[in-house]
């Protein structure tokens, strides 16, 4: 994790930018020209209802899905259409929706996989200590099978696994999904802690209000299009958020 940046937001360099992304599954288009950018040290969240294309964006940025058109640039490199392992090597770590830890691997092995492409013994030990400090439960459960952990613990493991590669950009896809309110609080505190340590984070959340409250900027997604982008506090006045969530603008008119 890099040192805390004190420069103002406007001076920060853009670390990731996506322009006019069209992504589909088969012949069905899920994203109709989405553009977004993230600056170094920012916490940006993407909000929207189910099926609005949030996870599709994440999977496209991480290289799992290939865009039909559009361009993605990360740290000045064109990563459009690159494989997931190549994107990861450049410094993008995705913590996928539903945690997706490896249940038959131990906690230790799950963490080791997180650093698969960039393993250096000294750095690894240091990162491991950081993870134990952030997630004490992982130290306790270090040699247990990942599948034996509770949902909340698995989410911790999934985030720790993502952090083990020291990414320049951490992407969290619905980290609070299916967790108890206590655990949700814990996850959001953790995200703020990571941000304060200088991590650049792209967060996807259904819990828009909660996400917006800790984010520098918000993209609001609806039906595969960006309906709003900007500071969280401007979101409410700019558009009718409720109508987007409750069933689209047409019906409200």
């Amino acid at each position: 994790m890099s040192e805390l940046k004190t420069t103002s937001q406007e001076e920060r360099e853009v670390i990731l930018s996506a322009s006019d992304l069209h992504v589909g599954y088969g012949s069905v288009l899920a994203l109709h020209g989405v553009s977004l950018e993230i600056k170094k040290g920012e916490l940006v969240s993407i909000c929207g209802i189910n099926g609005s294309g949030k996870t599709t964006i994440m999977r496209t940025l991480a290289g799992v899905l290939k865009p039909k058109s559009g361009k993605i640039t990360f740290k000045g490199t064109d990563i459009t259409g690159k494989k997931p392992e190549q994107v990861h090597k450049l410094g993008v770590a995705l913590v996928p929706q539903g945690r997706e830890i490896f249940p038959s691997l131990t906690v230790a092995e799950n963490l080791r996989i997180g650093a698969f492409g960039c393993y250096k013994p000294a750095q690894y030990q240091k990162d491991l200590e950081t993870m134990f400090e952030l997630f004490p439960i992982l130290k306790e459960r270090y040699n247990q099978g990942g599948g034996l952990l509770s949902g909340g613990e698995q989410q911790m493991l999934a985030i720790a696994r993502g952090l083990m590669s020291n990414p320049d950009l951490l992407m969290l896809d619905e980290p609070s999904l299916g967790l108890s309110p206590n655990r949700v609080d814990q996850i959001f505190e953790l995200i703020e802690e990571l941000k304060s340590r200088g991590m650049t984070i792209l967060l996807v959340e259904q819990n828009a209000e909660r996400a917006a409250s800790i984010s520098d900027r918000v993209y609001l997604l609806s039906n595969g299009r960006v309906e709003f982008s900007g500071k969280a506090e401007d979101m409410a006045s700019a558009i009718d958020v409720a109508s987007l969530y409750m069933g689209g603008k047409e019906e409200v008119k």
């Binding site: 392992e85 249940p103 996989i113």
Partner: protein, 299 residues
Amino acid sequence: MSLSIVIEFIINVLSMGSLYALIALGLVIVYGICKLINFAYGEYITAAAYLLVFCAGLSLPWWVAFVLAILGGALIGFLSELIAYRPFRGRSLDALLVTSFGISIILQRVFQVFISPRPKAVNLPAFMSATISLFGITTPLRNIIVIITTAVLLLVLLYIMQKTPLGIAMRAAAENFTTARLMGVNANLVISTAFIISGFLAGFVCLFWVARTGSVEPTLGASPLLIGFIAVVVGGMNSLPGAVVGGYLYALVANVLSLALPTSLLSYRDAIMFVIVICFLVLKPEGLIRGNYQEERVG
């Protein structure tokens, strides 16, 4: 039942089971990662066996011939993935399955046309056909060799899968391939490794298979492939331990049937084996040991 019969029975089960476990492992290691039933696996064994015939004909020392045959198996596993499977990766699994039939048929025809459609005798060192007296019974020495070789191979494989980063990555990829890639695990590396290990095991299998049959013909791979399938169906398609258990269990049941069946029914032994397999497919399709991989629902 006298002690010597028991010992003979145990050695028979262990030696046969060891060979079958190796066969099954070669199938499962590829299936685990790619979810592909590799029908060309039998031809890996045949190809390694022909290489063994060729090397033995050059009057090389026996161990050089053995090592070359094993490495040849690994090489053909690697090349078949690189040339035939890789271009189809990311397409449907059916495409890969048909490809594996294609490789199998092409290799068989190559053996027929360029080598010989007739069996070729193979010169193996004397110890592969020697017998040994042990605890009052006489058994082929190669039975003991295959048991020890398999034990060593299983330990090496266990070490690789449990302790090396590549092995951990392979287990991760077998469970969730996409997520493993998201963590930086290189897809080509993991898949190539699986095919190389599969071919490597095929090389070992060919040594002991050929020692039993004494000759090599283009369709040699068919029987071990079938045995591998049965062991895998019984043991579990998604688990390496399952393949080993399936291999030994196959040998146990086959040997029990050989002992228990009256002579008049002995020729139906294989038929009874197949009935058992069908029962498994109906009653316990996931096999004895269930892997962690969840079959993805399509459609």
